[in-house]
Symmetry: C2
Subunit: 339 residues, 2 copies
């Protein structure tokens, strides 16, 4: 393949250029750039002037290759979707105070299992001083650099972890429906391989038991966290005479699909069917009717993960498992059952 035929007019000013212009060696320039001891005041100012004049900026790649200390933190995501970008915002707002810079990395959407190890290997050792990995599928503790996992698929393990309280959130959601007077409540679960899905179902069952309500197993489906995968089980749940008066879907996307199926079957939400979701993604506020759901404090989680990572790098000892609270967000998709 041919390289692009661009004329690279400005071939990038490197340390050597600065050194030549200032009449010193590259070693001295390096010292100035990094504020090392052992350079005379006069040369320091002169070199500094040349740096400003030429607009020199150290190459991140070269620097990290040599020094293994880059002042850059990585946040590794499978792809930039709403969930991870919310975390990114949180991490970004927290990075300001730390003196680090933030680099977000995503592969070409492949999203295969084990992506986090590949990315990490690629960037660590060179390029980044530590990393936050978002919803990793495989968590191993033996990486070269400090790593914090956010919402790992397998639940907290050897790695420092930040997640939200899926269990308590599911209890909140169920209690909300029960509080409205619902007795016959359906549950549309998430991907069975995910810890979060397991916890949400457990929270649902626990709250039902506390309320003294039996769980009708024929009203428990697997929605798979996505609209396409939630469609069929939603129909099974709703297309029957003794259908539930309310459905708790394990995430917002499947809840939105439940509402769509309900309308398609001639019901109206929330008059004929109450629906509650989980996650509070931006779409949930725009759904019609706006979806009642459980909020995960994504931005806070991102910020906390970043603070945890920095403390880890600095060798500060602190709790390495953070679980942030979830909360009920009441909108318009739930109402008391008829009669």
């Amino acid at each position: 393949m041919l390289y692009a035929p661009h004329v690279d007019s400005t071939p990038r000013v490197k340390m050597e250029d600065v050194a030549r212009t200032a009449g010193v060696s590259v070693a001295t320039v390096s010292k100035v750039v990094n504020g090392r001891y052992g350079v005379a005041q006069s040369t320091l100012t002169r070199v500094q002037e040349v740096i400003d004049e030429l607009g020199y900026e150290a190459s991140l790649g070269a620097r990290s290759l040599r020094s293994h200390k880059t002042n850059v933190l990585g946040i590794l995501v499978a792809e930039f979707e709403p969930f991870s970008t919310e975390l990114l915002k949180g991490a970004s707002s927290a990075v300001g105070a730390t003196g680090y810079e933030l680099l977000a990395y995503s592969g070409g959407g492949g999203g295969s299992v084990g992506w986090e190890r590949r990315y990490l290997s690629r960037l660590s050792g060179t390029l980044i001083d530590g990393a936050i990995i978002v919803t990793p599928t495989v968590v191993e503790a033996n990486t070269g650099v400090p790593v914090v996992a956010v919402d790992p698929h397998t639940g907290p393990t050897g790695l420092p972890t930040v997640d939200s309280d899926n269990y308590a959130g599911a209890v909140l959601a169920t209690e909300h429906l029960v509080g409205l007077g619902h007795r016959r409540i359906g549950f549309l679960g998430g991907r069975t391989d995910l810890e979060s899905a397991r916890l949400r179902e457990a929270g649902f069952r626990h709250a039902m038991e506390v309320a003294g309500l039996p769980v009708d197993e024929s009203l428990v489906g697997v929605g798979g966290y996505r609209r396409e995968t939630a469609d069929a089980p939603a129909r099974v749940l709703l297309d029957r005479d003794d259908r539930p008066t309310a459905v708790f879907a394990a995430n917002d996307l499947s809840a939105i699909q439940v509402m769509a199926v309900a309308v398609e079957l001639g019901m109206s939400v929330p008059a004929d069917l109450s629906v509650i979701g989980f996650d509070n993604v931006p779409e949930s506020a725009l759904a019609s009717p706006p979806l009642t759901t459980i909020n995960q404090p994504l931005q806070e989680m991102g910020a906390e993960a970043l603070r945890l990572l920095v403390d880890l790098i600095d060798g500060k000892d602190r709790s390495t498992h953070l679980r942030l609270p979830t909360e009920l967000v009441v909108r318009a998709s739930c109402a008391p059952p008829r009669h």
Copy 2:
């Protein structure tokens, strides 16, 4: 400062390790990794096996330092706020098809003028093959790598550019107010140094003229695009007897502040005052009342910028100035004026 006292149990498997284990030279491993011609089928499979077994992954830093071709594209933002993360999502969704990977970079929130040149210098030449810079303040054409600017502050210049039609959007907003019957319309402009602000004001004035309405200059303020900076001018606009019946604020944040001030002064929106914004940031849908505004297709802009960048790198000739259409989003903050 002391380095973190972690025991780096796994010191990172490098090419040399693979070479030793497979019984070949590093040069051969490099060829295998990069799919170069000139390695026997038998050695190829053997080396590949060792790579998989050891979990080797090339160091991005070292590779790019040497080869200047990384298959990584950068998207450079001052910080990760809603505007840039929307663009990021769009770029991310478009990168999948290209075979490139995406690296988003943000400095520590400093946000000084000229950040884009610093970041670019830092990453280009090493590390990335091309970059998208988001809302750059200074645009120079002479960078070492292909660069696409999104929504540059100074308007399209020498650099390939993607932006949205600020002028037409402002016309749409003004027409909407006029169509509702408003005659006395206030305008709260943006930052005067920004091209987008200039265009939005020009669109407003044009639409007013077309409608045959004179612009009362005392009803034109400068809101500065932020809530804090919009507060005082909003008060000036509304705290008078001959106040406007509608206000077009040049972005959503200042529109939201206008609504807040109106409520504080005892008015109700939209009964006593119609307010329209610009941008359609997520917050605008959640405001009360939900804000009528002009949508910029941010995700599309991100995706188009990425496609443009890839074409540029591949040397494909194509139009280098893309202007995407804006559209009116009607929510609940505008109504006909009283009487």
